[in-house]
């Protein structure tokens, strides 16, 4: 079953055409990984899917319903997705626990005790239950990133969007987050993420998409796209990465 469908997506910033005719289907339970050079539009694509950016053309459907229609309630759509940003974006004035319980309590009207219980479960899962009372500024980058993942996951979203979640982490923590994401996928969570780490992409992806010049130039299973790329541009990109 197709959970997310992107067709003919276009996004510009002034004269800068960042996404130009992007087509992408994400099946429920699938993990799609976006790769591409810095500035190729990975973050922009994720932000468009989350309706944080108004698209300039094209259609995005979630569960068969067009969400780019200006008549849909964007807040309701967003509450069915989780997103973790490249720069964590935790709220510095709230404790770790309050960061995680904010949306359940305010958006989904979950009673405080229950929200805190599920938040603690989630924090425990990312290994930070002991930091619940700490302020985000007092955590390391990797810890902040894991709080951000817990915050995105606590609503049980249908779709989880992750923007370079491992770029701030040491190899050991990358492994931890990777395990976490694998766990989540095993639970049937649909994920779309961007990364610069090909090893990470290879391990976690069902489908790898290579973004270049505002389009998805090549997509397929990691073995094909990363192992035996068809497009010369993809080959070029990957060869520069390892050297």
């Amino acid at each position: 079953m197709t959970l997310l469908s992107v067709r003919g997506l276009r996004k510009t910033f002034g004269d800068n055409v960042v996404l130009d005719d992007v087509h992408l289907d994400v099946t429920a339970g699938e993990c799609v990984v976006l790769i591409g050079a810095s500035g190729s539009g990975k973050s922009t694509l994720l932000r468009c899917v989350n309706l944080l950016e108004q698209v300039d053309d094209g259609v995005i459907e979630l569960g068969g319903v067009e969400i780019t229609d200006p008549r849909v309630d964007a807040d309701e759509v967003r509450s069915r997705m989780g997103i973790v940003f490249q720069a964590y974006n935790l709220f510095p004035h709230l404790s770790v626990l309050d960061n995680v319980t904010l949306a359940p309590r305010r958006v989904h009207k979950v009673p405080r005790a229950e929200a805190e219980r599920s938040a603690m479960t989630m924090l425990d899962r990312v290994g930070l239950a002991d930091k619940a009372k700490a302020r985000p500024d007092d955590l390391s980058g990797g810890q902040q990133q894991r709080v951000a993942i817990a915050r995105a996951m606590v609503n049980s979203p249908q779709l989880l969007l992750l923007d370079e979640v491992t770029s701030a982490l040491d190899p050991e923590l990358v492994g931890e987050v990777l395990d976490l994401l694998r766990d989540l996928r095993a639970d049937g969570m649909t994920m779309m993420l961007s990364t610069h780490e090909m090893g990470f992409a290879r391990h976690v992806a069902d489908t790898v998409c290579f973004l270049d010049g505002g389009r998805i130039l090549e997509q397929g299973p990691p073995d094909e796209v990363l192992g035996a790329p068809r497009e010369p541009r993809t080959r070029q990109f990957l060869s520069r990465l390892v050297s």
Binding site: A37, S40, D56, V59, Q86, G141
Partner: protein, 317 residues
């Protein structure tokens, strides 16, 4: 925090450098530049735009109609009430308005000058005080203490009291080579009082800049002063511009308080005009002129606030 963000940058930069090298080789390739093809919006996009446009038009229409309706009802209620002719005669007498206008306008010029000169002095003094309060380190303790005491003192004293103290008190000392002009001492009093408020606004702005910004700047080798000047203050000032504009509007009105010293500003001029025949139209004229000054400023405040919006992610919501 700084170590985390520099860690985040590293892979980006590596790839950025690589892609920079690649795009040079690719630019002549068959992929073509984005500027080459002409894009026409799809049917769906056109429908979306039409829908958004219709929503905008609809809200504009609704607000226009409701404004007109409410306005009409208010005007009808007022003009049809029993005492209206007498009210009109006493407060909205056209001939009296025309007659008093030049004097009130001349008085207003004093208000405007005071606002402009004091405005600049307040901004400078307020910013200096705010910076003094944020200085760290034991050597600066006297400066911090002074700034704190200053703010406590002048925020606590009623403005009128300061004006009376300086405006009547200083000239009474008959100091040689010191002016006894009431406008000057009134202006000084306003500046002293207002800079205490403005200093607190600036300080709030300075403290709202995230510590990682200072860390990033110090890491680049900028000194404490340079960090303040090039990194912290520009962000702080931008953030507090709307509340400062608020203070400017209120300064413009409070400039009238120096009338207690006997100088003729717009309000005093209006008072003199009313004294002859108990017709209060000159007050309405003065009020009208003040509003005419304030409204452009209020719109400017809105505009500044909107233009600032928020940089980055928050701005799009």
């Amino acid at each position: 925090m700084p170590s985390a963000s520099s860690g985040a940058q590293a892979p980006d930069e590596a790839v950025g450098a690589a892609s920079g090298g690649l795009s040079g080789g690719l630019s002549g390739g068959p992929a073509g530049g984005p500027g080459g093809d002409v894009w026409t919006p799809s049917q769906t996009e056109l429908e979306r735009r039409a829908y958004r446009r219709s929503r905008t038009t609809r809200s504009a229409l609704i607000s226009a109609v409701s404004t007109l309706l409410v306005g009409a009802v208010v005007i009808w209620l007022v003009t049809s009430s029993e005492g209206w002719p007498r009210v009109q005669e006493t407060f909205f007498n056209w001939d009296k308005a025309v007659e008093s206008f030049p004097a009130v306008l001349k008085g207003l010029w004093l208000n405007i000058r005071i606002m402009l000169i004091c405005g600049v002095a307040i901004a400078v003094l307020g910013l200096t005080l705010a910076v003094m309060r944020t200085l760290k380190g034991p050597i600066f303790f006297p400066l911090r203490l002074f700034a704190t005491a200053y703010v406590d003192l002048f925020r606590g004293l009623p403005l009128l009291l300061v004006i009376l103290l300086l405006g009547f008190g200083v000239p009474a000392l008959r100091l040689p080579n010191v002016t006894s002009a009431a406008e000057v001492w009134g202006g000084v009093a306003i500046t002293l009082s207002y800079s205490a408020y403005v200093a607190e606004v600036f300080r709030a702005g300075i403290e709202s800049v995230h510590p990682s910004q200072r860390a990033a700047s110090r890491a680049l080798g900028l000194s404490h002063g340079q960090t303040l000047r090039h990194v912290v203050l520009p962000q702080a000032v931008r953030r507090v511009t709307p509340p400062l504009m608020n203070d400017l509007v209120s300064l413009q009105k409070d400039s009238g308080l120096i009338a207690v010293l006997g100088v003729v500003d717009a309000i005093r001029a209006a008072q003199i005009e009313t004294a002859s025949d108990f017709n209060y139209t000159p007050y309405v004229v003065a009020g009208f002129l003040f509003i005419c000054l304030t409204i452009p400023m209020a719109r400017l405040t809105d505009h500044v606030a909107r233009k600032q919006g928020w940089h980055g992610a928050g701005g799009t919501l």
